[in-house]
């Protein structure tokens, strides 16, 4: 029977902590970039005239239909970026394709009459998008967005394949040092669950705050 040795996790906690920091760094940067990029894509697809919006549709279809690991490898080995930029570009672009779709669905849910009303009250296109469309669209899509944010966390693990020293990478390090792959993998899995729950809680609080804000007017 296999003998478990959970002590190795405490022994190597500095590795796990390093990995945790790197994972958080990558995820934080990618969340910001992919949210900005994805929102831009979603808005562009919804409001630009046909030939232009097709370009953004092509962007979406292209980047969401290629496995993230291939995109990481392309940016790292093919385009010769450094590890961290390659991971950021790969993960952000992949995610932005999905966030673009989420934002677009949020925009579609806004009644047309509101947009017409804003227009006839003299708002320009950008004002309309910034003050009327985006606040409502983004609040509506918080639940699917938080699922996608968890996906960013999960896909960040793929960055280990190009040698980025995040959590999963460190679990492999511990495995290589101690041959305790199962224990290391279990510990890191637990950390991922905690992080994902953190995202769920934060997004939920954020949604409640945003909705209260609206009610107050």
């Amino acid at each position: 029977m296999h003998q478990f040795d959970w002590g190795i996790i405490l022994q190597h906690r500095h590795l796990l902590l390093e990995g945790l920091t790197e994972t958080l760094r990558l995820v934080a940067v990618c969340l910001v970039i992919s949210l900005a990029l994805g929102t831009a894509v979603g808005v562009a697809r919804s409001f630009l005239p046909t030939p232009l919006s097709w370009a953004f549709a092509a962007y979406t279809e292209f980047f969401r239909n290629i496995p993230p690991i291939v995109q990481f490898f392309f940016w790292y080995f093919g385009a010769n970026l450094e590890v961290f930029p390659a991971a950021v570009v790969g993960l952000s672009v992949f995610t932005s394709a999905y966030i673009g779709e989420i934002v677009r669905s949020g925009i579609r849910a806004i009644p047309r009459t509101q947009i017409e009303a804003a227009r006839s009250s003299g708002m320009t296109g950008l004002q309309l998008i910034w003050h009327i469309v985006l606040p409502q669209a983004l609040i509506r899509v918080i639940p699917p967005l938080s699922v996608e944010f968890i996906n960013v966390l999960k896909n960040s693990a793929i960055a280990m394949t190009i040698g980025y020293a995040e959590l999963t990478f460190q679990s492999r390090e511990i495995e290589a040092k101690t041959f305790r792959g199962f224990e290391a993998a279990t510990a890191v899995t637990g950390l991922y669950i905690v992080l994902a729950l953190g995202i769920v809680v934060v997004m939920h609080l954020f949604e409640r705050m945003a909705r209260l804000d609206i009610r107050r007017g």
Binding site: N65, I69, Y98, I158, T168, R172, T189
Partner: protein, 216 residues
């Protein structure tokens, strides 16, 4: 590389079948009236959805030898991981599918003398399955992309095969572009198929949307 592509398709297809069975089982458990069946299913579904697929693959790769006392081939480990991972997503698809079947139909089946299991397998699941098709296609795309991660434990699927070639000829730019295009062609074609199915089914029925709004 052709062999690798073949393996990717086989791996994705087997995982699809496996995770459909697993997902159906989980969905049925999840909808069970008894909490001691329902709770473990909910726990499994929700927890697995929070873990990176890479981690699941490693985990299974280490877990199987501990359970069986024998080493496991990367391919078997990858298959088990993909099934275990995707089953939790599939369970939600199946559950949504079952919920599209009108309650009256179930009651009619029951009152015509079928028992719960018969009503499920003969009436509810076939109708639900049709409605689930677009979403199942989406899951297949996710699996197709997911197989590329079997690379990390050394299974020679398409991505690994491409890497092996790159290690020999070292033309990363060309090779990874080619790999990206192949994945794109497959996945995009599948997503068109999914959309077509959804369009066909939406006449008179309510298919579960296969809209791929999130990754993984």
């Amino acid at each position: 590389m052709m062999r690798g592509l073949e393996l990717t398709i086989i791996l994705a297809s087997l995982s699809l079948v496996g995770s459909f069975i697993g997902g159906t089982l989980l969905a049925v458990l999840r909808m069970s009236p008894w909490w001691w069946l329902r709770w473990p299913a909910i726990l499994y579904i929700d927890v697995v959805r929070m873990i990176p697929l890479v981690m699941v693959i490693f985990w299974v790769f280490f877990l199987i030898p501990i359970l069986t006392g024998r080493p496991v081939t990367p391919l078997v480990a990858a298959l088990a991981a993909l099934i275990g991972f995707n089953s939790s997503y599939m369970a939600e698809v199946v559950r949504a599918g079952i919920q599209t079947v009108p309650k009256g139909l179930v009651e009619a089946a029951r009152s015509s003398g079928l028992n719960h299991l018969q009503a499920m397998t003969r009436i509810v699941l076939p109708i639900a399955f049709k409605n689930m098709l677009p979403a199942i296609v989406s899951r297949f795309i996710a699996l197709f992309m997911g197989t590329s991660l079997a690379y990390i434990i050394g299974a020679t699927e398409f991505f690994r095969a491409a890497n092996d070639i790159n290690n020999r000829v070292f033309r990363p730019y060309e090779i990874y572009t080619f790999v990206a295009v192949v994945y794109f062609v497959f996945c995009y074609a599948l997503s068109l198929l999914g959309r077509l199915l959804e369009h066909r089914l939406s006449r008179g029925q309510q298919p579960i949307s296969g809209e791929r709004i999130t990754s993984a």
